[in-house]
Amino acid sequence: MKKLTFFVFMMFFLTSIPAMAQQWKLDQVHTGFLFEIDHIYATIRGQFTDFTGDVVFDPAAPEKSKFNFVVKTESINTNIGKRDIHLQSDDFFAARTFPTMTYTSTKVTKTGENRYTVDGKITIKDVTKEMPLEFIYHGQKENPMKQGEVVTGLDSHFTLDRLAFHVGDGKFYKMGIVGKDVKVLITLEMVRDK
């Protein structure tokens, strides 16, 4: 019985080692979910400041990787309080009804030198769509700020149509005030123990 318990324990331990080793923790201060959108002729930049991520990533074994994010809509920040409150309102994100946006990966594949494609589903408000994200992998090294820790970085730039996700009903777009295409930058800085 003792041998069996030891065997089960060792099996569990050995199979979980790779996953544990590749589990990364988002460096909240240096990770960003940023966006920019046209306003008549100008470009407005903003970001979401409250988010969580469950990231498993091994550049050598992308098939074992996952990229799951949850972003709180009420954390939108464009540096203008009144605009942020308006963006949280039912005119845009309806943050009370839809407090989070999520991205859940289904497959990660290497597509080139330091390039990875993450297939997954993005949910904003009441709309869920398949959305592949192209990530550029910047490498990994021992954290210069903390011994015994490894740091890695990935970026993904993409554009999404906010109206396809019901972020606004199109009246501001039709008036030529707020654009519909939102340029998004997800910049990840993540750490794990060595």
Binding site: G81, H86, S89, R96
Partner: protein
């Protein structure tokens, strides 16, 4: 009634009517601001949200004008006391305070309702709104303490001093809130009018405090 007395009564009625006209004019002027000088937040609202936001601003501006009336009524201005006499002015001060409270309760509901009660985080960018929240609480406390003064363990003179000091804080917070919360008051005529009203209220406060300190019986 002598003809002299009759003339005086007629004059008082005319002057009283003029004062009321001036008061209505001030209120109408305040109500017109959110229509004539729309803030960016109003421009970006449509339908019911626009109605709510504009109504909320009208309520807030009404509070501002009523605060001026509140102060005017207890400033012992000779011409006002001659026209309306002191006791009715004091009653007006008390009732006006209750009216103010009602509007104060409605103002944030309308403003926040226009944005579907979206959350304000404790962030620096929302400081004018937080000043408004502090003002809201202070005004409610202020009106309650006046309404139920008899139940407070304070001597009348002590309560009066606290009441006067409270009025200074409330007016100060009101003008900070007004000048910074809406871009309508960031410049132009609305800002000039707000500053003029602030100047008039400062004058009235100085008059009230100097009377309290130097004990004028006038």
């Amino acid at each position: 009634m002598s003809s002299e007395q009759g003339k005086r009564n007629t004059l008082n009625m005319v002057q009283g009517g003029l004062c009321l006209c001036l008061a209505v004019l001030m209120l109408a002027g305040a109500w017109s601001l959110p229509f004539l000088y729309e803030s960016t937040s109003i421009l970006y609202k449509f339908g019911m949200d626009k109605v709510l936001l504009r109504s909320g601003k009208v309520m807030g501006l009404t509070v501002g004008v009523l605060l001026f009336f509140q102060l005017t009524a207890v400033s012992h201005l000779a011409f006002l006391e001659r026209i309306f006499s002191r006791t009715p002015l004091l009653h007006f001060h008390q009732n006006n305070g209750l009216g103010l409270t009602l509007l104060i309760l409605i103002h944030p509901l309308l403003i926040r309702g226009a944005d579907n009660f979206a959350s304000y985080h404790l962030e620096k960018k929302y400081w004018p709104e937080f000043i408004g929240a502090a003002l809201f609480l202070l005004l409610i406390l202020f009106v309650l303490s006046a309404r139920f003064r008899a139940r407070l363990p304070l001597k009348y003179q002590t309560w009066l001093r606290v009441h006067r000091l409270g009025a200074v804080i409330i007016l100060g917070l009101f003008f900070i809130h007004l000048l910074f919360v809406s871009d309508t008051f960031h410049g132009g005529l609305p800002r000039s009018l707000a500053l003029a009203l602030g100047g008039a209220e400062t004058f009235l406060l100085i008059k009230i405090f100097s009377r309290a300190l130097f004990g004028s019986n006038k």
